[in-house]
């Protein structure tokens, strides 16, 4: 596998149900995401984009096909190894934030670092730095219930970055936000992209495309379109059904990747 490729799938398939009730949520998808790329995946509800994101992050196992995260093939990993990989290499941002209600903002951000075995002092320092970066240093000791939707999502983004992951996977990050909060989050994603963080965002929101290097449209579990956006150096050269490979990725890495 190419060294600068952060995510790679081949024939990735996820089915639900059986016989006449069989649904192919993700249908033989080939995808390459090079380091530093900001990829937006769009499509109508139920087209399989969230399932694809879950498969990429190891939250779900494919019915068929392979997934690599960096040099690790994750579809055959044990649950324990997957957990370790998630806390070390993947940051998740969810539509409904999924902050722990009983923990303050800074405690939510340091969650992954503590799970990864970092010392409490170091985890707290990093969490405070990230909260400062997302503009919420003054809200660090507030509970999620005391924060607005946009602020909660910024805390979730800070949490996703706390372990300096290889890739940030965001599932409808602006889906529950009003316009003002959406703008805040978009600005943050733009900063993350500019810093060279690999980013995969599943969204309905066309404005996300403004901060992406590449956009894939999905329909019925497969890729319908894969196009580079302004500033992006690589485009999908689909090969067969559901193809979204990034040819020449090694040469075309726009952002510096991890750190």
């Amino acid at each position: 596998m190419t060294g600068s490729m952060v995510l790679r799938t081949r024939g990735l398939t996820r089915q639900y149900g059986r016989d006449s009730g069989l649904v192919r949520a993700v249908d033989e998808i080939d995808l390459d995401v090079p380091a530093g790329q900001a990829l937006a995946i769009m499509g109508p509800s139920g087209c399989g984009k969230s399932t694809l994101l879950h498969l990429l992050g190891g939250l779900q196992r494919p019915t068929d096909g392979q997934v690599w995260l960096a040099d690790h093939r994750i579809d055959t990993m044990s649950e324990r190894a997957l957990a370790r990989l998630r806390r070390d290499s993947v940051g998740f941002v969810f539509q409904s934030f999924h902050l722990m209600d009983e923990l303050t903002a800074v405690e939510n951000v340091e969650l992954a670092a503590l799970l990864a075995g970092q010392s409490p002092r170091r985890a707290r320092k990093r969490a405070m730095y990230l909260l400062d970066r997302v503009g919420l240093a003054d809200r660090a000791r507030h509970l999620p219930a005391e924060l607005s939707g946009g602020q909660r999502q910024r805390v979730a983004i800070a949490r996703a970055l706390s372990n300096d992951p290889l890739v940030v996977l965001a599932d409808e990050p602006t889906g529950n936000l009003d316009s003002a909060a959406t703008v805040e989050v978009l600005r943050l994603f733009d900063e993350i992209r500019a810093a060279g963080q690999t980013l995969v965002v599943v969204t309905h929101d066309a404005r996300i495309a403004a901060v992406a290097d590449r956009m894939i449209s999905m329909r019925d579990g497969a890729f319908a379109d894969d196009s580079p956006l302004a500033g992006a150096g690589m485009a999908g050269t689909g090969s067969g059904r559901g193809s979204g490979t990034a040819a020449g990725a090694a040469a075309g890495t726009v952002y510096g990747g991890r750190r």
């Binding site: 939250l59 998630r86 993947v90 969650l111 799970l115 949490r159």
Partner: protein, 594 residues
């Protein structure tokens, strides 16, 4: 490691603070079972420690010797060689003893009357607990005997037709307490239940109708108190010897039935506590599904997820063990009071280490047993499923679907709620089963002839029976409280869990009344088989723990019990159900939208 430990502790503390009611309920459930076990264990030593204390305070003898078949000078002659027998280091007596009839408060009972000097003896110095020691013309009662008869210092009683004033009460370690004082049937080696009184040595001959009819008792101290068997062998076969260990054993038998009741009760309560804790934990884990999914998403492995959840319940178990232990030990004197027969009380000293260890392990096992299944299930739950906070879809069974189509709306809702969470329905059934079993056993106990001890022509309250009755009452009260908690918690969990589907049902036309009735029905339906199985189980339990002729309550009593339990379940579950149904549908739909 420090970071993970901090995280586990942080989540534990925040969760306990966030759900104080559930935490208190968990504590109450486990502490109730632990407290009952502590009470049962305290009864094991009911007479042990107080007897030892009484023995030390009254210079109790190692062996008491009586010639059962001879009286007067013959008895004195038989006892005389023992005072200088090998291994004997001290003695008191022989004291004259008469087995007479005592009349007090209209009751005539057996009394072992012992003649004593006013001066204290070297061995067996009965400790006066009220009034004074013996004086001419007076009588001192063994305290438990006085309690059973209801006599007090200053009263007048009659001993074989002779009036005596009650000078006081005292306790001794030389004879077992009432009713095991050992009233000897004249001219035979056999004994009957009776109580002990002391009179002035100068009065006893007149009471017994002459000195030749007096028996005698000798208190002996041995160089080696454990060598009473050897002493018994050297003394004449015609002498009756009672070691202090035998007397202590006799006294401990006083609480045998009560101890059995408490121990069976504690196991029933433990089963109920497991059901209760399992119900609460299952509800909590369901409520924490998103948190669980998030933990997994950010990299917590199954072991970490299990540790986060299990730590909470083990900490609660530990706290409950402390509460239960303290409550059980403090309550022990109420039930396990050694009565008038001894000095001190059962709960006056800290519990034995084995009691502390047993109670702590018991509480932790309850917490772990109840939490293990939901926690393991949580640890292996699919992350995406947990994040979506989706309930497992009920298995579609054709029969159930066809049946529910024909049911009225309320019953249909109840059937569907149970189909959605079958484990909770099973816990509700177990809860009712254990409650009904205990109540049925208590009903059986209640209809038996309350045993009164025949102490001569009259009957007195049997202290064994009284203790058993009190033990049964304690078990029933604790069990009913626990069952009540279970019913309310189970319904409240159902309310929280079903609020979204019920809100949807209401948008489709179900009325608040139908929703309330549906929630109640969801608890009532599994209670029916629980009641049906609990009544025969309670009868079997009682039969297994009893001996002798058994009486059964009339059928209508059983019917009333069954209906009463079902009505109680319906009433208890209606309260949270009504509270839930009063909330506007729109609010519920908004708050449960994912």
């Amino acid at each position: 490691m420090a970071g993970r430990l901090l995280l586990v502790c942080r989540l534990l503390v925040r969760d306990l603070r966030r759900r104080p009611t559930e935490t208190v309920l968990l504590l109450a459930a486990i502490a109730a079972a632990t407290g009952t076990l502590t009470l049962g264990l305290a009864l094991n030593g009911i007479a042990d420690r107080p007897y030892q204390r009484t023995r030390a305070a009254t210079a109790g003898p190692d062996v008491v010797v009586e010639p059962p078949e001879v009286t007067g000078t013959q008895a004195l002659t038989a006892l005389a060689p023992l005072t200088t027998a090998p291994g004997v280091t001290g003695h008191s007596g022989p004291y004259p003893v008469a087995y007479l009839m005592l009349t007090a408060r209209g009751k005539t009972v057996h009394a072992v009357v012992e003649g004593r000097d006013r001066a204290p003896a070297t061995l067996d110095r009965p400790a006066v607990t009220g009034g004074t020691w013996v004086r001419p013309g007076g009588v001192v009662f063994e305290r438990a005997f006085a309690d059973a008869l209801g006599v007090h210092t200053g009263d007048t009683v009659s001993v074989d037709g002779h009036s005596l004033r009650v000078d006081g009460t005292a306790v001794t370690a030389a004879r077992a307490a009432y009713p095991r004082a050992g009233w000897r049937v004249p001219g035979t080696p056999f004994t009957d239940p009776g109580g002990l009184v002391w009179v002035d040595r100068g009065d006893i001959a007149a009471l017994a109708g002459g000195s030749q009819s007096l028996s005698y008792t000798l208190n002996v101290k041995l160089a080696d108190p454990a060598a009473h068997d050897a002493f018994g062998a050297v003394s004449s076969a015609a002498l009756n010897t009672r070691s202090w260990q035998f007397i202590a054993e006799e006294d401990s038998a006083l609480a045998k039935q009560a101890r059995k009741t408490m121990l069976i009760g504690s196991w029933l309560l433990a089963a109920l506590a497991v059901a209760s804790v399992a119900g609460i934990v299952a509800g909590r884990v369901i409520g924490q599904r998103r948190r669980l999914g998030l933990l997994k998403a950010v990299g917590a492995g199954p072991a970490m997820v299990a540790a986060v959840h299990l730590a909470e319940y083990l900490v609660i178990g530990l706290a409950a063990a402390g509460i239960g232990l303290a409550a059980g030990w403090l309550a022990a004197p109420l039930l396990a009071s050694p009565g008038g027969g001894f000095l001190g009380s059962v709960g006056a000293h800290p519990p034995a280490l084995r009691t502390v260890v047993a109670a702590t392990c018991f509480a932790l096992v309850i917490a772990a047993a109840a939490a293990l299944a939901p926690v393991v299930r949580a640890a292996i739950t699919d992350t995406v499923h947990a994040l979506a906070d989706a309930a497992s879809p009920p298995r579609r069974r054709g029969g159930r679907v066809r049946l529910s189509r024909r049911l009225p709306t309320a019953l249909l809702i109840g059937v569907r709620i149970n189909a959605r969470r079958p484990r909770r329905a099973r816990l509700a059934m177990v809860n009712t089963l254990i409650t009904t079993t205990t109540l049925a056993a208590a009903l059986m106990f209640q209809v038996q002839n309350r045993q009164e001890t025949h102490i001569g022509p009259s009957e007195l309250v049997n202290p064994d029976d009284e203790r058993s009755y009190h033990a049964m009452l304690i078990v029933i009260v604790v069990l009913c409280v626990l069952a009540l908690i279970n019913a309310v918690v189970s319904t409240w969990s159902a309310v929280l869990d079903a609020r979204h589907p019920l809100a949807v049902a209401r948008t489709l036309g179900a009325t608040p009344g139908q929703a309330t009735a549906g929630l109640s029905a969801a608890q009532l339906l599994p209670a029916v088989p629980g009641v049906a199985a609990g009544i025969p189980a309670g009868i079997v339990l009682f039969l297994a723990a009893s001996a002798g002729q058994i009486r059964y309550p009339p059928g209508v009593w059983w019917l009333a019990t069954a209906l009463g339990i079902l009505l109680a379940v319906a009433a208890l579950t209606a309260v949270p159900a009504i509270a839930a149904a009063r909330r506007p549908v729109a609010d519920t739909l908004r708050s449960t939208a994912s």
